[in-house]
Symmetry: C2
Subunit: 313 residues, 2 copies
């Protein structure tokens, strides 16, 4: 890091989707709406507000239509819906999502397990979804899940990732997300892949989606930012998890990311105090502690009175 | 990060000292000895095995003499003792510590609260301790606590930090540790300060001690490594905490750090599988979960069978 003026970092908040999808506790529709409405006033330009997946597959988000209809739309916010197939796209369009996030895995095994489709079948479905959105204002983002590693296959060929990015661009995706679905990325790999993909698309069209499963989420953000990435997914409180690692972290934590930006001097436009206050409501809503740190520790500027006795060595 | 050959990163394991000092649960001497003995066979070249502080101040480590006498010394390992004053140094020398780690805070307020001494009084005490060790094989390390921020005073003047480093060197310290005592460092600041201090001492004499209180521990490691730092403190399981933030993380987690090194390709000489196995014994010993991630999530190479049903989007 050198002493320079930093470009703005864009955070897409994903707690209402990636955060909630794995929760065992049912969150009532009004609570989901209240969470999204609160996030809508915190300075985010993008919120992934839900997914339109089979309710059998992800029951926690089965009320996607109701949520999208009941939220108060902030005209400055793009409300994104995750969509795995054509049926999901139709539901998202009926629900007036601003953007469809189409997801498939670089790993064939992972895509088959998740989507019950081969990658080619996913891409064929996406071509039809793109047709559905032609002539509308709805934008399309293509996510490459398991870009940095697959929990079943292990390492993922980087040429495969860039070939999927190319297919997405041919299909008419306006944005690309590279997703570290189960937290296997490392900063050296991230810098290498991000540089390759930024040879194909501008930074304004690329989102990085990191998980903190092995503690490297924010390390990977800095590695990606340093080679030019500017858009990142993050989840309030670090809400979310990993189905293979009970107790391990999921998505990187939004307030930890925003706090890092504040300390380094990277502009972001988000109200960190509001985020911390909101994050501190999540344990009561969901019945467990969050993995994020800043909501527990406070900000650097929150000084403490001098106590009696030794504090720490 | 570029595709280069990386220099070795040296990890000093501090769980037996910084990890245990804040624990509410008393750990019996044989359990402490067993922990240190296990760590002694995991590839570490340096272990901070205890502190010689007033037993009233830190009762959890009141058995320092017994621990140092009962451990099986691996001749490849330097066993370090933290020492705040002359009485502590005498106890450490009687206990055959290989190195004394002398600690004072850059923050006057923090040093007064912790040590009941001004910085000048600490430095005067250290001068006498240095005399005690002259003509022995015992080495001396000077730690600058609160280098990157103080929970009472806030920001710390960087010139003050380098002036303390200079005083330490004049006193005859052979090593310097810059400590982020309550997790307030950020990567930009770390790079700046490490560069300044590496203008005074070689990388082989500088240790960085980071806490993960606000989620930036490993980010700061990478920032320091990239500008030339090569020695880092870390604590098994992330054992340790912060007296001001119940539930927040303490020291950076050794196995998370070592796993990052493995993934990036930084050599370290430590047996990660052994660390993970050992870390997984800590919750039963101490009665709570650890903050480290890799012991929960496993390594990237620990692949999973393909489950029935959707895994994650």
């Amino acid at each position: 890091m050198s002493d320079v003026q930093y470009d703005k970092l864009i955070v897409q908040e994903v707690a209402p989707r990636d955060g909630l999808q794995i929760e065992k506790t049912w969150v009532d529709t009004p609570d989901k709406v209240a969470l999204i409405d609160a996030l809508s006033t915190a300075g985010f330009s993008r919120i992934e507000a839900g997914s339109f997946v089979s309710p059998k597959a992800i029951p926690a988000l089965r009320d996607g239509e109701a949520v999208f209809h009941q939220i108060h739309r902030n005209p400055e916010v793009i409300y994104v819906a995750l969509v795995p197939n054509r049926r999901g796209a139709e539901r998202a369009l009926e629900s007036r999502a601003d953007e469809l996030n189409l997801v498939m895995s670089a790993s064939q095994t992972h895509n088959l397990a998740n989507m019950r489709m081969t990658r080619d079948q996913s891409l064929a479905a996406f071509a039809k979804i793109v047709e559905l959105t032609r002539g509308t204002a709805v934008t399309r983002n293509g996510t490459v899940a398991t870009t940095f590693g697959c929990p079943f296959e292990g390492k993922i060929d980087e040429d495969l990732v860039t070939s999927i990015v190319d297919r997405y661009l041919e299909l008419g995706m306006q944005g690309i997300t590279l997703a570290d679905t189960t937290g296997m990325a490392n900063p050296r790999q991230v810098a290498r892949i991000v540089k390759r993909v930024l040879g194909r698309i501008p930074a304004s069209a690329l989102t990085l989606h990191f998980h903190n499963t092995r503690g490297l989420g924010l390390v990977n953000v800095m590695a990606a930012y340093e080679v030019g990435a500017r858009r990142f997914d993050a989840s309030l409180g670090g809400l979310g998890g990993c189905p293979f690692a009970p107790g391990a972290s999921g998505n990187i934590c939004t307030e930890d990311l925003v706090n890092m930006c504040d300390e380094v001097g990277i502009p972001h436009g988000i109200d960190l105090d509001k985020l911390i206050t909101l994050s501190r409501t999540l344990p009561a809503l969901l019945g467990h502690e969050m993995s994020g740190q800043v909501a527990k520790a406070g900000r650097n500027k929150d000084l403490h009175p001098v106590p009696d006795g030794i504090v720490c060595m």
